[in-house]
Amino acid sequence: MDEAARHRVALAAILALGGLLRLVHLGAIGLNSDEAVYLGQAAALARVPQLADLFPIFRAHPLLVQSLLAIVMRLAPVDIAGRLLAVAFGLATVWLTYQTGRLLYGRTAGLAAGLLLAVMPYHVVVTRQVLLDGPMTLFATLSLYLLARFAIDRRPRWLYAAGASLGLTVLSKETGIVLLAAVYAFLALTPSLRLRLRDLLLATATMALVLAPYPLSLALAGNLGTSRSQQYLVWQLSRRPNHEWDFYPTAVGPAIGLLVLLLAVIGLLLPRRQSGFQRTLLAAWITVPLVFFQLWPVKGFHYLLLIAPPVAILAGAGLAQLPPRLSLDAQRRPLPAAALAAVLLAGWLGVHAYQAILGPSQGRFLAGSGGVPGGREAGLWLADNSPQGSTLMTIGPSMANILQFYGQRRALGLSVSPNPLHRNPAYQPVRNPDFELRTGEIQYVVWDAYSANRSSFFSEKIQAYANRYHGRAVHTETMTFTSPSGEPVTQPVIIIYEVRP
């Protein structure tokens, strides 16, 4: 087997491993709130009965991913179908990371980069979910690759293609626009590229053309689309911080892997003769999103996924720096040290990724980190046991989204602010819960441990309403945890109360 064939086999093995980690137990836990929203939007686009009336098409983001999901929902309107598409995006990103690493640092670094991303807990966890960040990262990595091609052979067609790819990045999720600054930083810090203004303008125009569907579809959709987007912008700009400043270092850092980060630093510190423009390009691709999202008051576990591929590429380059052969036994063929280290590191990351897949939280939930145990089951119970047209009131909008998707019943979050400046414009506030309950507009009240953990105030409120309106617990979802003493403890995580005036 020649070297190229060995690389192909290694790449196939990496993709298989990445696929395994992304597919194992994929449907074990139901959708979380964001996933339910995106699949709900897709269902609305595809006019899936029941769901189309419950989820508005226009919410916060552009609709490229939701449009693709709409095709999936048309063919198979089930949650797992959306997740399979997310996995496909994730694996495509692994492949592109390999290609980009190979382009920038050679085959070994490419393989190492692909392997690290394939098993990186952060990327595994996020690309198992129906989120926009997975597709956005795929197109961002494609843009990175195309920009690297441009830097290598200076042909403007790569720049135009990179512009188009960046357009798709932003069409997937508007936060991808921050990479424009990364491109600018790279071009500005790499004077040897001698960029022509005409090429830059054409690339920008290409990006604008690809991006045009976003404003165009809003305009064609009329007032509904544009007003919703304006409201969303106002809301985003006035949101209060939802996490402490150290959220990314403490939540995302370990999910990427501290060793991977260390290797990435080593890759970044490669001598200039070995790294050239690569260092600038990757550093810009990591630094700009990192700084932007660190400064942005609203933080999310999945927001930094953009930096996972360049971090993996730098780590791959760092790994490839290890001495070429590690001779364990003089009589036998020496092992390549980089390969051995990569396999060991990948094994360690893979175990962590698997633990992250298996490890539902004890009544806790971090947005973007996985599904919500019990949510699907509670929703399906409602679909089977509550009258059509029922309305529920939950503690917050997150559980409302999940129950609305699975239960196909309208769900309202009690904590949604009546002040339009303080709420996601897609959500409807319950302005007078007593009135709604007294007049029979709301028939079920739902308490859940995840939302209760976020707000004891609204948790107590929802229990008070259940009590006041003759609440009767008609369904309870429980989870079994291991107590500090090692004993299994079963606790309710979702309780559905039937209420009446």
Binding site: L63, A164, A466, R472
Partner: protein, 451 residues
């Protein structure tokens, strides 16, 4: 990320335990097997409206004929006529609905004496031509869209509330009087007697029920307590003096308890006193209480084997254009609105079978092999003929209290959204593919140097 605190969880668990273990009345679950899947029949008797008054403009129903104009004085066509008009927010009054007024309005089948009859009593006769529609009755119209609307459901007697209520429980006119008196009612058998004989459970639920008030408390010339006017059992000594029977006349609150405890009887007769829609009462309040009664049923175990009939005890002085069949000296009376809600009800059907209150008795008799009470119920059509037992029992549908006309917001044209995205994506894919194609011609991608 914080751990779930025990302080938050404990009250929830406690509440769950408390509310799931609430004690309830023990209702016998030993009713004989019915002949249909219907094990629970619920009759809600509201007050004083005609079919045309509520559903005269409902699409597909036998509503106002085109070009209708009812003469102000049928004996003097020169006086002009009045077309049906939407009442909306206009103030209304309790129009006279006595036997005499019924006769004048009926006018030997010409159905043209409505305005004149009221004018003779110094009432605003033109008001009889007023109607409501889905702006005023969104909930009932939504129910009609979802379940069965009867447009040939007549009041049993050409009279007012009391006699029609008597018909609804005995199949006959009682003493032939249209109001309760200090003499009480003759000891005719009632449908409840028939149910008792077969050991079948029943209850008469009354809103704001006062067990101390019955026909003995009537005072000549004084206003009659509504529960005596509308609950014939409170004029029957047998029911007042037999504790087992009297215990089954109960407050409406028990209806909700029975649903929760899965002890709803086989036959429930519901009389709402406060929100009965009796003019000039609030239609909104009536729809609200009906909604709460129905929703409680839909959320209960009883739903899957239930049939809930909403109807009205007399025409209330309002216009209706269909001459009621004259089957005996008492009636029938003018049409009243009637809706049948059941998991076996076909969706959005207008049923034109001739029915009256004794059609409910007929259904009970057929369902549990009971003997008829009178010739009326023996010959009546059953409301059960509207139910389709071959269809899978339908999941309950809580219809909204606002008018619902299918998916409210069809939303924007999907093509206008999807096409721009498809075009943008194709453009990008084309540009990237073109770049790779030209690259392949020139020898494929370079491979970076190993560091």
């Amino acid at each position: 990320m914080k751990r779930l605190s025990a302080g938050l969880l404990a009250p929830a668990i406690l509440l769950a335990v408390l509310v799931t273990t609430a004690p309830g009345d023990a209702q016998t679950g030993s009713d004989p097997e019915p002949n249909t899947p219907i094990r629970h029949v619920i009759l809600l008797m509201q007050e004083n409206h005609t079919f045309d008054n509520y559903f005269g403009t409902y699409p597909g129903a036998d509503g106002f004929p085109p070009g209708l104009c009812v003469p102000i004085d049928p004996n003097d066509p020169g006086d002009g006529c009045v077309e049906p008009f939407h009442i909306g927010e206009q103030p209304i009054q309790d129009l006279d609905h006595s036997r005499r007024t019924h006769r004048l309005m009926y006018n030997e089948g010409r159905m043209n004496g409505f305005i004149h009859a009221l004018n003779q009593l110094n009432q605003n006769g033109e008001l009889a031509m007023g109607y409501y529609d889905d702006r005023d009755l969104p909930y009932y119209w939504n129910l009609a869209d979802e379940y069965v609307l009867f447009d040939r459901f007549f009041s049993s007697a050409a009279a007012g509330s009391f006699m029609n209520h008597v018909y609804s429980v005995t199949g006959g006119p009682g003493a032939g009087r249209d109001r309760p008196t200090l003499d009480g009612l003759p000891d005719d058998p009632t449908i409840f007697d028939r149910l008792e004989e077969r050991g079948i459970s029943w209850k008469f639920y009354i809103q704001n029920y006062d067990p101390e008030v019955n026909y003995h408390d009537l005072v000549e010339g004084a206003p009659r307590p509504p529960q005596v006017e509308w609950v014939p059992l409170l004029s029957l000594d047998r029911y007042l003096q037999t504790p087992e029977l009297f215990a089954k006349i109960t407050d409406l609150d028990e209806y909700f308890d029975d649903l929760r405890n899965d002890t709803l009887p086989a036959f429930s007769y519901i009389k709402v006193v406060g929100a009965s829609e009796h003019p000039p009462g609030s239609l909104l309040a009536g729809q609200r209480i009906t909604r709460s009664l129905l929703q409680a049923l839909m959320q209960s175990e009883a739903w899957s084997s239930s049939a809930f009939l909403i109807t009205y005890d007399d025409w209330g002085g309002w216009y209706d254009h269909v001459p009621p069949p004259q089957i005996d000296e008492q009636g029938l009376g003018f049409r009243v609105p009637a809706l049948l809600i059941s998991p076996y009800a076909p969706r959005g059907v207008v049923d034109s079978t001739t029915l009256d209150y004794t059609s409910v008795l007929k259904f009970l008799e057929e369902n549990w092999d009971l003997d008829p009470l009178t010739e009326r119920d023996a010959l009546a059509n059953s409301i059960g003929q509207a139910l389709d037992y071959e269809q899978e029992p339908r999941q309950a549908v809580i219809v909204p209290s606002q008018r619902y006309l299918g998916p409210a917001e069809q939303g924007p044209n999907r093509l206008l959204i999807l096409l721009p995205y498809a075009a943008g994506t194709l453009l990008a894919v084309g540009l990237v593919a073109a770049a790779f194609r030209r690259s392949r011609k020139s020898g494929g991608p370079p491979v970076g140097n190993e560091p």
